[in-house]
Symmetry: C2
Subunit: 334 residues, 2 copies
């Protein structure tokens, strides 16, 4: 049987209140007693029950991480950063893959509430924004890589707009004039921003982004491939393609190969995220890197500060992206 606070108290000949105080470093305890009690706790391998202390108003030191899919390399890398920072700070993380489905989000949130988690990091999309609003009313929430302008929560995101601009500048600098883009749904703010940055940089260079050069995709290799195939089938096909994430870019690469279009000679591709995938494809992808580690760590920092200090004003932290040039982009002479 596991030792309880009663066992320790009995062994030490004191009350459980006294033991509780030394556990929590509260109140005044004579140095002698304290040492003795600590020694006994060690000897008994006593570990306070988080369950019991949570029931008396303290924290569970656990929070939920909602992301679309842990098996997706981008979220896996972010999750690792979240986990590490959380662990450093004494927290555990329950991972929840939502597939971006509202009913899964709802179910998970319900479970997390029942389990009295201390807070939630939301990295998933939701359609019914009221769910986020309601949630943020009932516990600390920080949004990561996503935002809901109407809901007051801490937010940490990459500078998607600048990232989109960087992709465009790079392609323009290489001489491209027919530039297309593969995006996720425009209902996702980060996608919208990436496309917007891309579009603006192009327009400033006097190059409009044609509507039929904007393809909205689902978040999958397969859909990236399908949409790229459509773009490449056009007689006036683009010479450059900006993909809003690595998965889409992998699909684009596959479509190009199948269509006999060489990358980068006949088609330049810039992706976004810079997960491990970007480094292992053929050719390796030029990619706008998101600071995944920082994203995760900052989100945890915000959440824990909210938990342990006085609730502060909602912050919005924007982290810089960085263009990593590999071999999927090359100069174009028309």
């Amino acid at each position: 049987m596991k030792a309880t606070i009663y066992d320790v108290a009995r062994e030490a000949g004191v009350s459980i209140a006294t033991v509780s105080k030394v556990i929590n470093g509260k109140g005044k305890i004579s140095e002698e007693r304290r040492r003795e009690i600590i020694e006994i706790m060690d000897r008994l391998h006593y570990q306070p029950s988080v369950i019991a202390s949570a029931l008396t108003g303290k924290h569970t030191y656990t929070f939920g991480l909602l992301i679309p899919d842990i098996s997706n390399p981008f979220f896996a890398e972010v999750a690792r950063a979240v986990e590490d920072r959380a662990h450093q700070l004494g927290y555990s993380v329950i991972i929840c893959s939502t597939d971006n489905k509202d009913d899964r989000v709802e179910r998970y949130i319900g479970l997390l509430k029942q389990k009295s988690v201390d807070g939630i990091i939301m990295g998933t999309g939701i359609e019914r924004v009221d769910m986020a609003a309601e949630l943020s009313g009932s516990m600390p929430v920080v949004a990561i890589g996503r935002e809901w302008s109407s809901v007051p929560v801490h937010t940490v995101v990459a500078d998607d707009y600048q990232g989109g601009r960087a992709a465009a500048s790079h392609l323009l600098g290489l001489g491209h004039r027919r530039c297309a883009v593969l995006s996720e749904s425009m209902t996702i703010i980060s996608s919208r921003e990436r496309v917007q940055g891309y579009r603006q940089a192009l327009e400033e260079a006097g190059i409009p982004l044609h509507n039929d050069h904007i393809r909205i995709c689902k978040f999958s290799i397969e859909d990236g491939r399908r949409n790229t195939a459509l773009l490449l089938a056009d007689e006036n096909r683009p010479t450059a393609l900006f993909c809003c994430n690595d998965l889409l870019a992998v699909g684009a690469l596959q479509a190009a190969r199948e269509a006999g279009v060489r990358v980068p000679e006949q088609l330049s591709i810039v992706s976004f995220d810079n997960t491990i995938l970007a480094a292992v494809t053929d050719p390796p992808l030029t990619s706008v890197a998101q600071p995944m580690e920082q994203l995760g760590a900052m989100a945890v920092n915000l959440l824990v500060r909210e938990l342990e200090e006085k609730p502060s004003d909602k912050q919005r932290i924007v982290l810089q992206t960085e263009l990593i040039v590999r071999e999927s982009t090359a100069g174009w002479r028309s």
Copy 2:
């Protein structure tokens, strides 16, 4: 404030014992009362506290998943499978990346115990086997992709030996005679089995596996690259290479490219795992597929059965692998 069982009881004019019974579907309650109470619980948005019920002897419906690194695609895919199956069965999973370090394992196990998780799925390596033994004495444990022959726990693994044989057979069939292998540490049973299967199949064909054709690597792209570079520097270099996981194979691919050795024309590579990486490299990797989804789901099944039914005999489940032939292997004429 969240509604408690007291609120429901008061509203319904019954005792909390009665409410508890309808929550748990225990005891006899008149159909009328039950309906009324359920209606009130709905109206109050009442959700029983897992914390409180766990303190009274029930489960926390949470378990821990210990793996080396969630940002590694193989473990991310397994984790997703674990999460999905757990979720279906009403459990949450706390993810713990250990980097295969004993002190991290120990710390995590301690935390999980304090949090009263119902069980642990161990997919991580540990040096001090006694830790696993002690753990399995204190709560249900199932090992996944790892085994400790001396510790009685449920185990679910892929058939590593057969997988190694399959890799060798494939290469032999293509005419290769100088075959090398990149392995993880031989202290990991699964690595040992893979190499063993590979070696035996080679030997049965009359081809010994030379010691200097066995390279022990750390679990990283970088180490795969480094060791492959060493192999390729040999004048009598191998024409085929079996890598015990995709990450090592990615490193091998990089080393080959750097050394100007074409894959598969001058070097065939077979990897193991068949994560998403194997599909996106250049060339795509021929790989021995592990059934990651099944591995995860089976591990959860075993754990939950142990939890909810009478503890059964420790099972050892071995799942089949499957060779997926892509473009990193080709025939060799000497």
